[in-house]
Point group: C2
Chain length 130, copies 2
Amino acid sequence: MKISELAQTAHIPAKTIRYYESVGLIKPPQRETNGYRYYQLRDVETLIFIRRCRELNIPIEDIKQLVAVKQNPEASCATVDNIIVEQLARVRQLQQELALLEHTLSLLVTSCSSDTIQDCCILQSLQSSK
Amino acid sequence: MKISELAQTAHIPAKTIRYYESVGLIKPPQRETNGYRYYQLRDVETLIFIRRCRELNIPIEDIKQLVAVKQNPEASCATVDNIIVEQLARVRQLQQELALLEHTLSLLVTSCSSDTIQDCCILQSLQSSK
DNA sequence: CCTAAAGGTTCCAGCCACAGGAAGGTCAAG
DNA sequence: CTTGACCTTCCTGTGGCTGGAACCTTTAGG
């Protein structure tokens, strides 16, 4: 199949598929004499897998490892576990930071009932707070 | 004062201060014959304000507006309100997305008790889930 | 007076994961 | 034969910095 069919099936833009090839996340596919990329059925699987990983915000470098380790049924799960655990840690870290932001911002939003900049509590807080 | 003193006082790297100047967030300061930047006391205030905004993840383009509007005591608070409200909305949006990620990832982490890739529930989930 | 260190300057490149667009080749339908 | 859809490569931009090279200026010490 050609790239746009793969793109539609795996729900990944063709542009992104070429990008994944350029950074070594997927292998360069077969090419015909016209220079077009032609893909196999199992490439759909791989790309869906990659998409799922990206939806979990797993970095491309980590996905490379996952894809590689997936080829080797005898290998240990440790790599996979580590990557997921680390990703979870990153997400939770970000959640904590965002909770702080949310708190501060919502305080700001409710703090000010002024109409002019002169008495704007928001700006005053941003100037001096913390 | 020279840039490194400003940097220390405002807790912003000198490199970042130059960057802020290059993107038009702060005005180019006075220069002496040696080419060095020399800053005023009020530049400290401005940079602290900017740092607070960045700590709230407010985009630089929005901070430009905040800094501009701050010069004009008679102006309406509407711009400020909008920017903060929008920022809060972005943060909450991100929080929702992260909550989903966190949920999925924590399920993945606890799902697998296998030792080898062959039976790894994590990889199987990533292959077929959703 | 010379030197070395510390600090200043500009400019270029890289990060991450793409997206947009230009310029040009290929292919199937009418 | 033309049109339009698809394919190709290559370059640029995104946001907010950060690192580093190459070079100039200032300051302190021997």
